[in-house]
Amino acid sequence: MSAAKISCTGASFGAVTLAVVRKDLRLEWRTREVFSATVVFAALVLVTFNFSFEPGQGAVERMASGFIWVAFVFAGMLGLNRTFVTEKEEGCLDALFLSPADPGAIYLGKVIANLIFLAVTEAAVLPLFALLFNFPLARAFPTMLLPLALGSFGFVAAGTLFAAMAAQTRIREVMLPLLLLPACVPVLIASVRLTQAALEGLDLESVLPWVGMLVLCDALFVVAGTFLFQHVLEE
């Protein structure tokens, strides 16, 4: 059935992926719904951290990568929920069900779009973190790019698959964290460890196993998502 689907469109896998990315980016560019909500939310998480921990200068150094990642994860979940809830409400999800496009390509398109949203949020939150906690981030930033990229990708790859399901349940926003947070434990541990190492200026060689762990997680989630998305996008 899926072979017949592809042949009757003529659109290649890559073309479908690009079309979904462009649709999501255009939608976001016009509404700026997800971006504004997630950045404000991430900022609130940082402010809440400050009040609940009252971290002194030494403590900030120890907990910096944890702060950053918890803010990213919470804000990221907000964004992931929004992308599919909007589609569900406006009937776009039904159109995607009906379209003859390869579900794997739709999934990858959504992953790339969500990754771009999360990256933009991170780009806004990191300077804010440095500013609010008087933390010198700029020096470590180049080495931080690796855990940021790999960790965000794994989180978004799993999150996109689960968010598509959560949007079709009765409790929507509540369902996503219940599925995503436990599944993303390896991604979170590895990302926090690598980011901490980058902040402390350790050489990446000593934390190489964590890079391998992130690559494994990314591969598992993106492969599983590409193959399983057809079972999520179905009426």
Binding site: T169, R170, L179, P182, V185, P186, M213, H231
Partner: protein, 252 residues
């Protein structure tokens, strides 16, 4: 025998996958359930009367037999859920979904037993009910993953979509287990090293090892029986729903 009355309701002699699964589950349950009862009694006797008391830990160490066996049974049940989920997505037959659901539920029950029996040992030995040790943490994460599986189902609503979504979670969740294990293990470890599957051979005294093996066998039989009975129960629920629908139609 609650099962006896139920058996009259099953359509007999059919040849669909569901019919064959019904017969298989009933046959398996008829064998494993009595055997599990006998084996469990044997295991209890061995644990308290045959296996020697550990020198430093004393009587608390006996939790070990139940703890390890529960852990094994939960993995077995989650594996059943994983395989059945794959088969469900490939074949789209409700029979596989019933088995997957039963596997996940029984797995969560045994995983809960692991998480509950651990602290009773941990309190006197480690001095704390809970520590963020590698194996405790990864078991907790595993439990949470499949709790998500069970929570998801009722909120998707009745029918085939819930089965599909659950299967996706069952597959991704199970594949995630090795990664959770490895990452949490690198994160930290405090748990006693494996004493049975040790590279230098089992380090348990033979009486303890024999007791553990009997308990393991008993719990395996118990897990298999639970899965079969649970799948059967869900099947009966399906039949009841169908019958209720037919009754409503005939009244109109």
């Amino acid at each position: 025998m609650a099962g006896m009355t139920a058996e009259h309701e099953f359509p007999r002699g059919g040849s669909t996958l569901q019919d064959r699964m019904d017969r298989l589950l009933r046959r398996v349950r008829n064998v494993t359930l009595p055997l599990a009862g006998i084996a469990l009694m044997g295991a209890m006797v061995m644990i308290f009367n045959y296996a020697p008391e550990e020198k430093t830990q004393g009587i608390v160490q006996k939790i070990f037999y139940v703890h390890v066996s529960s852990a094994w049974s939960s993995y077995l049940a989650f594996f059943v859920c994983f395989i059945s989920s794959i088969l469900y997505l490939l074949k789209r037959d409700r029979a596989w979904d019933l088995l997957a659901l039963a596997g996940a539920e029984v797995g969560v029950i045994f995983c809960t037993a692991v998480l509950l029996s651990g602290p009773f040992w941990g309190k006197p030995i480690w001095g704390a009910w809970w520590t963020w040790d590698a194996r405790l943490t990864s078991t907790l994460v595993l439990w949470l993953i499949f709790l998500g599986y069970l929570l998801l189902r009722p909120f998707v609503g009745e029918g085939e979509r819930g089965a599909r979504f659950a299967a996706v979670v069952g597959i991704v969740g199970f594949l995630d287990i090795p990664l959770v294990h490895l990452s949490v293990r690198w994160w930290r470890t405090l748990h006693p090293d494996p004493v049975v599957m040790n590279p230098e051979g089992p380090q348990l005294p033979p009486e303890m090892l024999q007791t553990l093996l009997v308990t393991l066998a008993a719990f395996t039989l118990l897990a298999v029986s639970f899965i079969a009975v649970r799948a059967e129960l869900e099947r009966l629920r399906d039949l009841a729903t169908a019958l209720r629908g037919r009754l409503r139609e005939s009244r109109q």
